[in-house]
């Protein structure tokens, strides 16, 4: 467990350092994610400790997000002035994205079994 925690923290620091050095367009944490996937590919399976950390921590991910969300107090004026824009993005854009992804996926998934009646 501690070894996996150390790996996770080291990947985070190394990812940030690498992204900064290369002036990469992707965040350091994504470099860390890709490195961890690479590690699993080399192992041929997920590292048990990392999987256990993920499974234990996943239910608490929303909690970690609260302090950032409280930052909205600094932007209440923007929210108040542009609420129609927010509403349109949350309702309209989300519905559009769901439909686009769903339609495309259903169409493409059904292609291999072309003989099946739809």
């Amino acid at each position: 467990m501690f070894r996996s925690l150390l790996t996770l923290l080291a990947l985070s620091i190394a990812g940030d350092a690498l992204a900064q050095c290369l002036d990469a367009p992707i965040p350091g944490s994504v470099v860390g994610l890709l490195s961890m996937v690479l590690m699993f590919l080399v192992l041929g399976r997920t590292d048990q400790g990392s999987a256990r950390i993920f499974d234990a921590a996943a239910p608490y991910f929303p909690f970690l997000f609260v302090p950032a969300a409280v930052g909205v107090v600094a932007s209440m004026d923007v929210l108040y002035d542009s609420w129609p824009v927010f509403l349109a993005a949350i309702v309209g854009s989300t519905a559009a994205a769901i439909l686009a992804t769903g339609y495309a996926a259903e169409l493409l998934f059904s292609k291999p079994q072309a003989g099946e009646p739809s």
């Binding site: 994610l33 950032a68 969300a69 769903g102």
Partner: protein, 237 residues
């Protein structure tokens, strides 16, 4: 009295204590009321903490300083997404091409539709950057928004609301559109409403949840690439 209060909220543990207390109460309330979407614990805890800061006259900078480690841990959350990504990788080997094409399209639609109205109304770059990553998973969205000049707080509220809307109305929208393939439903819910949509998809079936999980992660990765591109195309600061 004022001095006592200021000492009290200057304690290095104050921010984390208040956050834990607010979130725990919000979860309790949410469960007691039968888990209504509008009262999602993150929204309730956030409102409660915002009111608390105002009541105490505490600056957000001080609170965010005390809770910095929690926020920084979001980058560990992103790295840990390697676990579900690797677990669902076999789906990519089986039906990789349809998944990538559908997600690419969905990601583009999410971006363009989210940005079109604010563009027409001529809103600020800050607002555009905060809206662009709205379908990505929270940790990624905040990271992307901040890099593009958006505001973490606004992005957070938009991302949570997007997740809730998709999770609550998504299945009905897909049903009305005649989409029945559970893999397509999962992919759409995960791609458009990230972790909250994925939780909803897991309630439909295990396969639906697996596709949602994959949709969430891959769409988040796509957002990292597409959001800066879209903003650099439309915004000339």
């Amino acid at each position: 009295m004022i001095e006592e209060a200021s000492l009290f909220h200057q304690h290095p543990f104050f921010g984390v204590t208040a956050t834990v207390a607010a979130y725990a109460s919000a979860v309790l309330l949410w469960r007691r009321l039968g888990t209504p979407a509008l009262l999602h614990p993150v929204l309730v805890a956030t409102s409660g903490l915002a009111l608390l800061l105002v009541a105490l006259g505490m600056r957000y900078e001080d609170y965010s300083g005390q809770t910095l480690l929690l926020t920084e841990a979001l980058s560990l959350v992103i790295i840990l997404l390697a676990v579900p990504l690797y677990r669902q990788a076999k789906l990519l080997r089986e039906v990789g091409y349809p998944i990538i094409v559908a997600l690419g399209l969905g990601s583009l639609v999410a971006l363009t539709t989210a940005l079109s109205l604010p563009l027409l109304l001529g809103t600020s770059r800050e607002l555009l950057a905060s809206l662009a990553p709205k379908s990505a998973t929270a940790a990624v969205a905040v990271e992307v928004a901040e890099r593009l000049g958006g505001t973490a707080g606004l992005t957070a509220i938009v991302v949570i609301s997007t997740g809730l809307f998709g999770a609550v109305f998504g299945p009905a929208i897909l049903r009305a559109a005649g989409i029945k393939d559970e893999r397509a439903i999962g992919l759409a819910l995960g791609a458009a409403s990230h972790a909250i949509g994925t939780a909803r998809a897991l309630g439909i079936s295990e396969a639906c949840g697996a596709f949602a999980s994959l949709g969430m992660i891959l769409n988040s990765l796509l957002t990292i690439v597409l959001a800066p591109l879209a903003l650099s195309l439309i915004a000339t600061p």
